[in-house]
Assembly symmetry: C2
Homo-oligomer: 152 residues x 2
């Protein structure tokens, strides 16, 4: 088991191994630095041009990989009782085949993600706890304003 020291979101480049019949794409290993424990692995899909967010997890560490399509992730650290609207992302990145990296998000960050690819956009989250609705907060997309994201 790893265990995360980092309190900031971060990226880890991953390998894709091409083979005659297809390929192998790395995800996450128990010995990886960013591995925070295993609670659940699930997929989330996001259609082209659409956005899921905002969501903040109070307990869950996310480990996100995009095996199909291209997904833009926007992450910021506004406090839960921030009364303003304008936020500056700590991370704004497109992941997928052109940048195949794992995104680790510790608890306490707001995340939104947008379907950028025209093929199927799929993320895998290897979460350290199982799904537990009470540990997550959802805000509408227009609650926060991020430069060059959404309608802003």
């Amino acid at each position: 088991m790893g265990g995360i020291d980092n309190t900031q979101p971060f990226l880890t480049p991953l390998k894709i191994i091409e083979q005659a019949q297809g390929g192998v794409m790395h995800g996450i290993k128990a010995s990886d630095h960013s591995f925070a424990g295993f609670g659940e692995a699930y997929f989330s899909t996001v259609n082209f041009g659409l956005i899921k967010g905002w969501k903040l997890h109070r307990k869950m560490t996310l480990n996100l990989v995009v095996p199909s399509g291209e997904i833009r992730f926007v992450v910021h650290s506004a406090s839960e009782n921030y009364t303003g609207r304008d936020v500056v992302p700590v991370l704004d990145v497109i992941l997928g085949s052109t940048q195949y990296s794992r995104l680790t998000v510790p608890p306490g960050y707001w995340v939104a993600f947008e379907g950028v690819g025209r093929e199927r956009n799929i993320l895998l989250n290897v979460a350290d706890i199982e799904h537990e609705p009470s540990e997550a907060i959802n805000y509408p997309l227009d609650f926060f304003r991020v430069p060059n994201f959404h309608q802003f």
Copy 2:
């Protein structure tokens, strides 16, 4: 943690939750019966009409989910020193959006899988140990003859 009593490969139906922007597709939870521990999560892709196999893991339990495309899995239990060629599968199933289930394969089974979908065929394996080449045996595809599979 779960821990597998089963010594046979088996399927577990999984939920897909449709949402306005995309969907959520279940994978595996630490509390699931078929969860055997976490060593590594990785993807394997297989192109349309091509087959990866045969492979037998001596230690690894596989938990396989197909989030994109359609993949046919053929599993049989010939012993490592079986001198014949003809085998009867214990399991022969196509997984993907039409049958979205998790396939659990305990150690000691031969597995081959074929890309059946014309879109990208991707499997996720949530393995209980990290990749360790010495615990897996690879045989060429034509080593075993399975009715209605490959050229046979």
